[in-house]
């Protein structure tokens, strides 16, 4: 059986939702409370790390395929650049907060306020979460691959030694 024991799997399947929702909260309220896109993205990635440690690599790959993760990574980076270019188009200056200054002033200390800052937080959170997930996945694949190679080389040397005998 891949992964850890039943106790760890049960607890992980309860806790993963809490961690994920907390990451989304940290991202969405980044312009009001401490936190922001980067910290929230790392929390999102760490919920998938918990799944990977408890259930094994294949389970996570079925839930969030690598192609989807790399697409999310690119979408996050593209959104952040798009917000900057939209500032150039609608506000006249690269990265200007055009939403707050022209279209959607909003009240401070409310969820929908501060113009482009929450949108940038969402884009960065998406990007950081997906990219850290990709890194951890690549590292675990690499470790597995190396160990597999070592075992293969060992068995090959054993078989050759047997042949010599």
């Amino acid at each position: 059986m891949e992964g850890m024991t039943v106790i760890v799997k049960t607890i992980a399947s309860w806790v993963k939702i809490l961690i994920f929702v907390f990451g989304i909260y940290i991202i969405l309220f980044g312009h009001l409370t401490p936190g922001g896109g980067f910290a929230g993205g790392v929390i999102l990635a760490s919920s998938y790390v918990l799944l990977m440690l408890a259930f094994g690599r294949k389970f996570v790959e079925q839930n969030l395929p690598l192609s989807l993760a790399s697409k999310l990574d690119c979408i996050g980076a593209f959104l952040f650049a798009l917000i900057a270019v939209l500032g150039l188009v609608y506000g006249g200056v690269f990265f200007v907060n055009f939403l707050y200054q022209k279209y959607l002033p909003g009240q401070p200390l409310e969820l929908i306020s501060a113009g482009t800052i929450p949108l940038s937080n969402i884009a960065i959170g998406l990007k950081v979460g997906a990219s850290l997930f990709l890194v951890i996945f690549a590292l675990s694949v690499c470790c597995k691959d190396l160990r597999y190679k070592d075992a293969k080389a060992e068995s090959a040397s054993n078989s050759s030694a047997n042949k010599k005998e």
């Binding site: 940290i26 980044g30 312009h31 009001l32 409370t33 401490p34 936190g35 922001g36 980067f38 910290a39 790392v42 929390i43 990635a45 760490s46 790390v49 440690l53 790399s70 990574d73 980076a77 952040f80 650049a81 900057a84 990265f95 907060n97 707050y100 002033p105 909003g106 401070p108 200390l109 306020s113 501060a114 113009g115 482009t116 800052i117 940038s120 937080n121 960065i124 990007k127 950081v128 990219s131 850290l132 990709l134 890194v135 951890i136 690549a138 590292l139 675990s140 694949v141 690499c142 470790c143 691959d145 160990r147 190679k149």
Partner: protein, 182 residues
């Protein structure tokens, strides 16, 4: 002030143990202790944004390092250091320490903002006009995503490029094809 000195001594001891110990796992745990000490330091300095980021990244890195350490069999370091390399690193660290002392002499006193010494500094503008110009209640978010958004764009680019490099170098399929072609 006392808690900073206690934390600093704790972090220095952990750093020395992390360098000097022979066991790789305890060295990794000491590196984690340094990171958590730094996170507590940021919390006492009233910078909760950085404290959250530090503790989250520290947890993730510690998990990865411990996982990588446990899966290897050889976790004991053997052999001594070279005398010449030790002398050179000690001299370099001492020179950097002297430069750091000169830098810290020019800083304002601990706990006072930098615009108390140099009027018209940029941080004063951020604190005075941050809320009315960006509308964000969290001034840190208004600085990193509005006033200094170029920095964030550069950071995102660095992360994106490093992820591309890591996934290209560590990818699974090409290794498999290489093995099959052998």
């Amino acid at each position: 002030m006392t808690e900073f000195y206690i934390l600093m001594v704790f972090m220095i001891i952990a750093a020395i143990i992390a360098v000097e110990t022979k066991n790789l796992l305890s060295s990794v745990i000491c590196v984690g202790a340094i990171g958590f000490g730094g996170s507590l330091m940021f919390l006492f300095l009233r910078a909760p944004d950085i404290a959250i980021t530090q503790i989250v990244v520290e947890v993730l890195g510690l998990i990865l390092l411990i996982r990588a350490t446990i899966s290897r069999d050889l976790t004991f370091i053997t052999g001594d250091r070279e005398f010449f390399g030790t002398v050179i690193s000690v001299v370099v660290v001492f020179v950097i320490f002297l430069a750091g002392v000169r830098v810290f002499e020019t800083l304002p006193e601990f706990g006072t903002p930098i615009f108390a010494q140099t009027p018209g500094a940029a941080s004063q503008t951020y604190i005075e006009k941050g809320l009315e110009e960006t509308g964000a209640a969290n001034l840190v978010a208004s600085v990193i995503l509005d006033f200094r958004a170029y920095d964030t764009l550069g950071e995102a680019t660095v992360l994106f490029t490093s992820i591309i490099g890591a996934t290209v170098i560590l990818r699974y399929k090409s290794r498999k094809r290489l093995e099959e072609s052998d």
